[in-house]
Amino acid sequence: MCILLKLFMVPALLVAMLAGASAFEVPPLRGRVSDTDGLLSASKVIALENALRTLEEKTTAQIAILTVPDLQGEDIKSFSMKVVEAWKLGQKGKDNGLLILCSEKGLHCRLEVGYGLEGAIPDGKAGDILRHQIRGKANPKKGTHDFDGAFTDAVSTISQIIYDEYAKDPTGASMRGAGPEALIGAFGLIVAFVVLGFVGAIFGVLVGGIAGGALGAGIAFWGAWSILGIFVMTVVGFLFGCLAAIIMSGVGSGGSFSDSSWSGGSSWGGGDSDGFSGGGGSFGGGGAND
């Protein structure tokens, strides 16, 4: 037991040292509202999270709020950009993410607007919301600290803008185009499945698996993925090929497969606890701060 612990200690320490080597740490994404600077009341945090979740459900736009006690020596713009690049707020392709960031007990705030929202919320509008909705109620330089009220107003105003945009254009087609990649990918998977299945049915499951592995590796190379990605794809391809071969040969011989039960159909659990994560959206540097 002792030896095992010691064996793990060294690599763990190494990892910790390497991780600590980079001074800047992006705050982890723990939810839509990360009030690490304690500006909001608990009930307000919940109310805001609900409002932001509803916004995402209705329009797919992802707004997050982050308050931090300090900027770790960074300028607020570069801090904000590092956060949104790590959190990836907004949907991939639509880029409809927005971050409201406040630091040092709300002394400095920034609205970071995703590419897809820049039309509805250009820099001047972001500045407007900052000056009126936020600073109207919470301006430490002037001695006001009603952050509950300020964030409520800001979220309400921003949400209304997004709802209005969404009502005009529900598919978000005007936002940066979401590619047809998903459709092509699905089609490709079906074709690969059938082809690999035939190969495997004729030449044996193992050959089907090898073909699948080669195909996986090939796809990873076409996409110029990392070494790890190539390895993973090879393994996945192998398993996919074996599976296809088994199913196709089962179908072909019309035999023993019919009574194996493919249980499923029920959801993957997870319920409706809000496991919030970024949708892959990107940002160009638009927004406003003070």
């Binding site: 300028d75 570069s78 972001a126 030449f203 090939g218 190379f221 076409w222 540097g285």
Partner: protein
């Protein structure tokens, strides 16, 4: 029938050839994609710089409405803008020339400085400082400057990514065969783009 199947030598060779084809084809595609990314990234830098330049006449207009005698400041901004615009003519040359990138950056930095002085004028004119048009333009200039910073950083990151790819395996072979050259870039200091912080009482 299926049980008698044995891999003949030609099948092995074919398999290896196909695999190599996939690997090198994939690598070539990857390099092409990265090359295009770098060009697109510098194009974006050029575009956002132009957007900033377009805001300036409007800003000068608004400020002049309140502070018409600050002529040295207006002259400074106008000249800096002209200089920056003259360098930022062609996005594709920007992508291929670190010398041009340096010139571009320095011109943009000079423009940021003179913009800082222009905005600082408002410290002495409370009515200007409260003017909604002025505030909106100030936000847009700040946003545009930030966009230039972000776009430049991404262009350089893409260049680094490309350079890494043509050094690794099998990139280094494909690069030599396909004629892919490393991308040189001028990095400069990260803070270079930000306009100087406006301090009280500072005059152009």
């Amino acid at each position: 029938m299926v049980e008698d199947f044995k891999m003949k030598p030609w099948m092995w060779i074919l398999g290896v050839v196909v695999l190599l084809g996939l690997v090198f084809g994939g690598s070539y595609n990857g390099l092409v994609n990265k090359d295009e990314s770098v060009k697109a990234a510098w194009s974006e830098v050029s575009n956002v710089a132009n957007r900033r330049a377009e805001l300036i006449p409007q800003l000068v207009d608004v400020v002049q409405g309140y502070a018409e005698h600050e002529s040295s400041v207006f002259k400074g901004v106008t000249e800096a803008r002209a200089k920056a615009t003259s360098i930022n003519v062609d996005a594709s040359s920007l992508a291929s020339s670190p010398a041009l990138q340096k010139q571009f950056m320095e011109a943009q930095q000079a423009l940021s400085s003179s913009l800082g002085r222009l905005l600082a004028v408002a410290e002495n004119y409370p009515n200007l400082k409260a003017n909604e048009s002025f505030l909106k333009l100030q936000d847009e200039v700040a946003g545009s400057t930030n966009r230039i910073t972000v776009a430049r950083k991404r262009a350089i990151d893409d260049s680094k990514d490309y350079n890494q790819a043509i050094r690794g395996i099998p990139g280094v072979i494909v690069a030599r065969l396909g004629g892919f050259q490393p991308k040189e870039y001028y990095e400069g200091k990260p803070e270079d783009m930000a306009p100087p912080k406006i301090t009280f009482g500072k005059k152009g």
